[in-house]
C-alpha cells in the first residue's frame, strides 16, 4: 500500500516526512515505488529507507499531510518491535487523526467500488497532493488549485473542454 513515512523525536513530535521514494533496478531503470507499508509489515527497518538526524523512530502513516504533519505528535500501539502509529495528535488543539478511522474510510470506499478501482485521493491525499488541514489539524480538503484568473482568455480551452467530455473523467 502506498503510504507516507513520518519520523519523530523523543517527544513524539513529527520532524520529517518522506512522501515517496522511487525504486530503481540495475542500470538505474525505474521499477516502481518503494512500498513503505509492506516493509514495515515485514518487520523491516525503516532505516533501510531513510535516516533523519535527531529522530528516534520512523513509522508509516496512511495519509499525506505535507508540512502540516509537523503540527502533530505520534501515538503508537502494538507489541515491542512491531509498534505502529495509531494516531496523530495535534500539538495545540489535541485533535486526533485516528489510523483506524482512516483505514475504515479507505475500506468503505473500496467496498463501494465493487471491484473497480477506488479513488481515495480525497481521503488520504497523495505524494503529489497532500490533504489540506486547518490550524487545528482537521481535514479541509485536498490542496486547492485555484488556477489562473478566470477573466484571462485561454487559447485551446475549447479543445481541452471537448477532450474532457470525451474522456468523461477529466
Amino acid at each position: 500500500m502506498l503510504a507516507m513515512l513520518v519520523a519523530y523525536d523523543t517527544a513524539g513530535n513529527v520532524v520529517a516526512t518522506l512522501d515517496h521514494l522511487v525504486a530503481r533496478g540495475v542500470g538505474g531503470n525505474v521499477t516502481g515505488l518503494i512500498d513503505f507499508a509492506a516493509h514495515e509489515e515485514a518487520g523491516g527497518e525503516l532505516l533501510d529507507i531513510w535516516n533523519v538526524q535527531g529522530a528516534v523512530g520512523s513509522k508509516v502513516w496512511p495519509e499525506w499531510l505535507g508540512g502540516r504533519a509537523h503540527d502533530f505528535r505520534v501515538e503508537k500501539d502494538g507489541p515491542p518491535g512491531a509498534k505502529r502509529i495509531s494516531a496523530l495528535v495535534h500539538k495545540t488543539s489535541g485533535y486526533r487523526r485516528e489510523r483506524s478511522d482512516v483505514i475504515s474510510a479507505i475500506n468503505a470506499r473500496v467496498a463501494e467500488a465493487n471491484g473497480k478501482p477506488a479513488d481515495i485521493r480525497d481521503l488520504v491525499g497523495g505524494p503529489d497532493r497532500p490533504l489540506r488541514l486547518d490550524d487545528e489539524g482537521r481535514t479541509v480538503g485536498r490542496t486547492i488549485i485555484t488556477g489562473t484568473p478566470k477573466h484571462l482568455p485561454v487559447i485551446g480551452a475549447d479543445l481541452v473542454a471537448s477532450r474532457g467530455s470525451i474522456a468523461g473523467s477529466q
Partner: protein
C-alpha cells in the same frame, strides 16, 4: 494508479495501422492487448512499440502539440524526475552568529550527488517563499539577520544526504522552519 488509468480508457477510433502482424490489435482501448502493437508507418528509422510494458519509441520522439507550444520528449536531451520528496522541520539557532543544521538521508539508489530543490514553507505547511538555494532576511540595519539554505550530497553508495542550514544573528531557538525537499534524478530513462 495503473488500474485508475485503465478505467479511463475509452474505445478508440484507431484501427490497424502499420505493422501489426498478429492482427490482434484491432482497436486501441480497453487496456487489453496480449500481443502488443508495433508501428513503423512513416519513418523507416523509427520504431514505435505499444505493449503491456508501455510505449517505446526507438530513434524517435514523442511530440505533444497544444495551443502555442510543442513539447518534444526525446532520448537525447535529459530531464529531471522527482526521485523522492518529503518535509523537514527544525528550530533555529541562538547566537551571534550561530547555526543549526539538520540532515535527512534517503536511500535513493544514486551513486552520485543529485540535483535537488527545496522550498521554505509557511506555517500552514504549504509552499510559501520561493526558495531553493538560499533565503535571507534583512534587518533594519540592512544587514542579513538570518539565512537558510540546503545542499544535497553523496553520502554513501545508494545514499543521498539532504542537509539543511539555518544561520543567524540572534535567538531563533523558539522558531521552527519547515522545508519541502525534492531529490531530482537527471535522466533520459
Amino acid at each position: 494508479m495503473a488500474d485508475d488509468l485503465l478505467a479511463n480508457f475509452r474505445p478508440s477510433p484507431f484501427q490497424n495501422t502499420g505493422n501489426d502482424p498478429g492482427g490482434a490489435f484491432g482497436e486501441l482501448g480497453g487496456g487489453i492487448n496480449p500481443v502488443g502493437f508495433a508501428s513503423n508507418v512513416d519513418n523507416e528509422t523509427a520504431d514505435v512499440i505499444i505493449d503491456k510494458d508501455g510505449i517505446t519509441v526507438i530513434e524517435g520522439a514523442i511530440t505533444v502539440t497544444n495551443a502555442g507550444a510543442t513539447v518534444i520528449i526525446d532520448g537525447s536531451s535529459n530531464m529531471f524526475k522527482i526521485a523522492s520528496t518529503g518535509t523537514r522541520s527544525f528550530a533555529g539557532p541562538n547566537g551571534s552568529p550561530a547555526e543549526t543544521t539538520s540532515t535527512v538521508d534517503v536511500a535513493t539508489g544514486f551513486d552520485y550527488t543529485p540535483a535537488f530543490q527545496v522550498y521554505l514553507t509557511n506555517s500552514a505547511g504549504v509552499q510559501g517563499s520561493a526558495w531553493h538555494t538560499g533565503h535571507a532576511d534583512v534587518g533594519a540595519t540592512a544587514l542579513f539577520t538570518q539565512w537558510r539554505y540546503a545542499e544535497a550530497s553523496y553520502l554513501a553508495t545508494n545514499q543521498t544526504r539532504m542537509r539543511f542550514f539555518w544561520f543567524g544573528f540572534g535567538d531563533y531557538s523558539a522558531v521552527t522552519s519547515y522545508f519541502r525537499y525534492y531529490i531530482l534524478q537527471e535522466a533520459g530513462i
